[in-house]
Every structure is written in C-alpha cells, then in structure tokens.
Subunit: 167 residues, 2 copies
Amino acid sequence: MIEPSLDLYGEAATRVEAVLVELLTQSRARYALLIDRQGFVILHQRAPWAPKPPSLDSLATLIASNQSANEAIAQLFGESGFRETVQQGDGVGTYVEAVAERAFLVTVFDGSAPLGKVKLFTKRALDQIRAVLDETREAAPAADLGGSFSADAGALLDQLLGDGTTP
Amino acid sequence: MIEPSLDLYGEAATRVEAVLVELLTQSRARYALLIDRQGFVILHQRAPWAPKPPSLDSLATLIASNQSANEAIAQLFGESGFRETVQQGDGVGTYVEAVAERAFLVTVFDGSAPLGKVKLFTKRALDQIRAVLDETREAAPAADLGGSFSADAGALLDQLLGDGTTP
C-alpha cells in the first residue's frame, strides 16, 4: 500500500493548520493545501468565503503528478526542479511551491485575491511551515522509520533467523 | 501518423518568426517557441545571448502534455483551462500561454529577464500572432482541409464509384 511520505500529528499539525488559516485570511485565497509528492493531502484549510471545493484528493493527485512532469522540464535545463508554479485561469488560479523535498504547499485563489498577495503570504507561510517541520524532525528522531529503522530491523531478524551468510 | 494541428508557411511563418525575435529582444528571454497541443514545434527562435538549448522537441512534448494535465486541474474548478502558466526555478523559468485552441506560445527565460517584462512582451507577441493566424485563416480558406474537404472528396468519390446507397 502506498502511504503518505510526510505525516503531521498533534501540536505540529495544529500549528501548520493555524499557518494555513492565516495564509487564507491575509491573501483572501480560497483553499490552502499541504500535499506530499505522491499526491496525498496532509492538511488543508478552506476560507469561510470560499465555495464548496472540488475533490481535494483529485486536486492533490493531479498537482503532484504535474510537478513530476515539471521536474522533467526543469531537468532539460540542468535544474533539479522549478521552485514555484503559477497557473491562472479566468476565474481560478493555483500557486504551488515546494515546502521541502517531500511536500508542496498549494494555494488556490480567485479574482478577489491579487496574485502578488497570494505569492507574498504563501512564501511567508512556507517559512513558518518549514520551521515547524524542522522542529518536529529535531524533536522526534525516533519517528524516522527510514534507513536506520530498516537496518535495525534487519539486524534483529538476522539475530533471530541467522544472517543468511551461514546457512 | 500524427501530424501538427497547426502549420504555418511562407509569409505568415516569416511574420510570426519576426514576432518571436522581437519578443526575445524586448524581454531578454532565451527562447520563444510556438508549439501545438500535440507537442510539435511549429516555429522557434533563440536569442543571440542564449546558450545552446536542450532538445526543443522534448521540451514541446513535455509542455504540451503538462498543459493537458493543467486542463484537468482547471476543470475541477469548472474552468475549461488555465490561460497562463509560469514556472520559475533558480536559474530558468517558463511562461506558457494559449495562442488559440490549437497552440501555445512558450517563452523560456533566466534571471536576466524580469518576469514582468517576459509576461508583458509575451502577451504583446500573442496578440500579434493571433492577428497573423486570423488573417491567414481568412486569406486562405482553400487551405482548410477539414470538414468541407472531406465532404467534397466524398462527393467526388460518390460520383466516381456510386454513392453506396444504390448498389
């Protein structure tokens, strides 16, 4: 099963949600989403003045897959990826910026939110979200189930079952 | 075989090429491409100060497929598509705007071309290209090999071979 590459719980999630609410209040945008690179919605907020949103899961999936294609374009020019993407339609626009290697912040806005404000407050929110993620990482190293977890689990299994080199 | 959905020859092509050169000169961007929705490069220009470009065919293919994904995002919000897309990386950015239903104008720029200028002169170039396309369409109705051509050809074949309803 595919699982989100970034999870936020408890106080960290509450703080990031407050950042998203602040972003919407200041920019007058409609929706703010923190999504991971696989297209999972990690957190989202909807402004009180925004109409009912479309499926946010579909939106996150489409944006994440789009960002992969964007990376292919950036790589043609020797870059690892584009830092930000703005799409503007007649009624609605999206602003997407990478939070870290694992996630994107997506702001959906309409004509009542000037693009300059959307960019400014999205960038401000990004700094705050990065700070929360950094603190969370430092505070909870035990939550890292990456390489060292696998190695530890592997070593434990080796002890229990033999390491395969001595059959 | 897949063929470009938009072709430009002769004087019309020369005029659009001049528009692309003017766009690059005024915006200080690197490359300007007119591509169709299928990802074919119709016309392109490279600024004298631009480094050797990557494969423009690959770039056009990636951008055209990206625009299809963009349309899926726009449709979630009840729009037919996004009018413009800006991608900015640390070194290079792209600005894409729909010329008509069949084509996109793509401007590739770097840090020496301010985004405001790129947008302004790309929009100006768009107006000029649209005017050329409109004139070309009006001046050369015989070049339309769409519905009426098929109908005419069908009628001719019916005359030659019988119309199939009277075997």
